[in-house]
Symmetry: C2
């Protein structure tokens, strides 16, 4: 190799290094600019009345979360959904409950992505566990996201609304009468049940009926600071002696998931997360969180907290297109 060639090759390397550094700088600056430009420093509270257009323009369009107070104070659920009433009305119904040894359903455990044991049990026997009337190993969480309120507990639907009228109208299409939610989910969890950080392709209205939920939220623009790895999927299975096995899902591709726990982030392993800007918000009984599509979220709750959430399909439009670019760039570039 001649000196000339070596030098010229070194020149190219330096130019490419410089370009890659500039790309990384763009990806680092982008989330910071989002905060300066349009994101709020905390999650604001709003209160009806507002028109569907106002809600669309202020929150859905700009993809910004807010807490809505007094949005469902007329729901009978707020006064009726206590354990004795629920035992009376749906005590004998069989529901699907996520059971885990540690409260982490759908989360990274060592080198696996571990899903909960899905156990069918009566609502009464679940309440026995939650109320401490029956001792049980493991953490129980009603968290099935298949519209389980309407599918598994139709007796309770009269205590809430089938949809949120101003949201349905905000998302309605030309020539259609309205857009109803894709799913209405019922949540009932123990204090140690945790939802690990992830994002959904839904516009989410999350209504707390009793107790409170603690959300950690990160905007889609923080994607460059959030690590993803690929994991072998597995499920928990409780043995006769009460201990849990982790059983691999056979013939399954690895799945991408976020290994980072925002409650105790490993900043040595994921130093980019230092630049992330998690928002903490507690949603109390009677309050509703608008959790915009593609926002990363981590969720905890007070013991026995009951909630109902409405999932509306998101639009796969310009914002999704842009997010996909950020996602693919974050994947291509890796740590910043």
């Amino acid at each position: 190799m001649s000196i000339l060639k070596l030098n010229s090759s070194n020149g190219n390397v330096m130019a490419e290094n410089k370009t890659l550094d500039a790309v990384k700088k763009c990806l680092r600056d982008f989330p910071l600019e989002a905060r300066e430009l349009y994101l709020n420093k905390t999650v604001p509270c709003v209160e009806p009345p507002f028109s569907p257009l106002e809600f669309y323009r202020e929150w859905i369009g700009p993809n910004k979360p807010c807490v809505i107070r007094n949005a469902f104070s007329h729901w009978p659920a707020l006064s009726k959904w206590n354990p004795s009433h629920l035992r009376e009305v749906v005590g004998s119904k069989v529901i699907s409950v996520a059971v885990t040894p540690n409260g982490y359903a759908d989360a990274v455990n060592q080198d696996r992505f571990v899903m909960p044991e899905e156990r069918l049990m009566t609502f009464s026997s679940l309440l026995d566990v939650v109320e401490g009337k029956v001792e049980s190993r493991g953490v129980f969480y009603v968290q099935k996201q298949c519209s389980n309120l309407t599918e598994e507990l139709p007796e309770l639907t009269g205590d809430v609304e089938a949809h949120i009228p101003w949201m349905s109208e905000a998302l309605v299409f030309f020539f259609s009468l309205g857009k109803l939610p894709d799913a209405v989910n019922f949540w009932l969890g123990e204090a140690s049940a945790v939802t690990s950080m992830h994002k959904d392709h839904y516009e989410n209205l999350y209504c707390v009926i009793t107790g409170e939920k603690h959300f950690i939220l990160l905007p889609p623009s923080d994607r460059p600071f959030i690590p993803y790895e690929h994991y072998q999927p597995a499920v928990y299975r409780q043995r006769e002696d009460g201990d849990f096995d982790v059983v691999d899902v056979a013939d399954s591709d690895k799945v991408p998931w976020i290994p980072l726990d925002p409650l105790k982030p490993d900043l040595e392993l994921y130093p980019d997360y230092r630049l992330a800007c998690p928002l903490h918000v507690t949603v109390k009984a009677g309050e509703m969180l608008y959790l915009p599509s593609l926002w990363f979220h981590h969720v905890r709750q007070s013991h026995g907290c009951i909630a109902v959430n409405f999932w509306y399909d998101m639009e796969y439009d310009i914002k999704y297109n842009y997010f996909q670019l950020v996602e693919s760039l974050a994947g291509a570039v890796g740590p910043l």
Copy 2:
């Protein structure tokens, strides 16, 4: 340099090359995915009635252009704005006219960004030129974008509306009564007057009163395929003998502008533009174009075409944040 070190350095170079290639692929795929995902292959026509929410959700929110028919059929301007009426009402008014040797105002000419001579003249003497009653060197275009309808020709404002009610309502903020346009501009041009490709930070409603306008539109997602260069700013100045000088603007920084002419793109110089997807749309008298913020556009017209456009401030929100990322990445990476 040991062989080991050379190899390891070569390995790094290859990895960096690969990363940079992956970044370029992301930037190439992004505009193509935009077309598959949500952009229309042509500019659709819509017709009132529609609610402000519907217009926001279908067009402003997703940042998609459309032609609106019968949106201003009640404007007196449509029947009144002929040369003899205009001579009568505003013939003696002094207006600002852009004069160029070739029809290109605000465009790249060789190694300069050349702006027009801004000439003050009466409306009658402009009409003399446009109607061919007076011979004149140069191309004349009323194109001053400083709300010249309300500022220079207030006598004509009664023939149109001060704003577009459904647009103002769509963009209104909480607790305010409405958002009025930032500028209402009057356009009157000769056939050879051309607006070179650029983008604006406005939501634009462009209403053709007489004649027709030919737009070439490119979505913001095509930014990676659109070249920008930096140019010395200059202005045209017509000499006594009718020829034009190009006079540099003293002490001025270079300005970024698009050198590419979509009517005859130099694909050898700008091969990435092969992947761009220009939409052609003709807007006829009585029609309105919704030209969304940050869309690149190039404009021509029929001789003597008169138009009025409304510029509404764009929102500097999530979409702008994403666009700025694309803009900075395109600048960092250069040709794909």
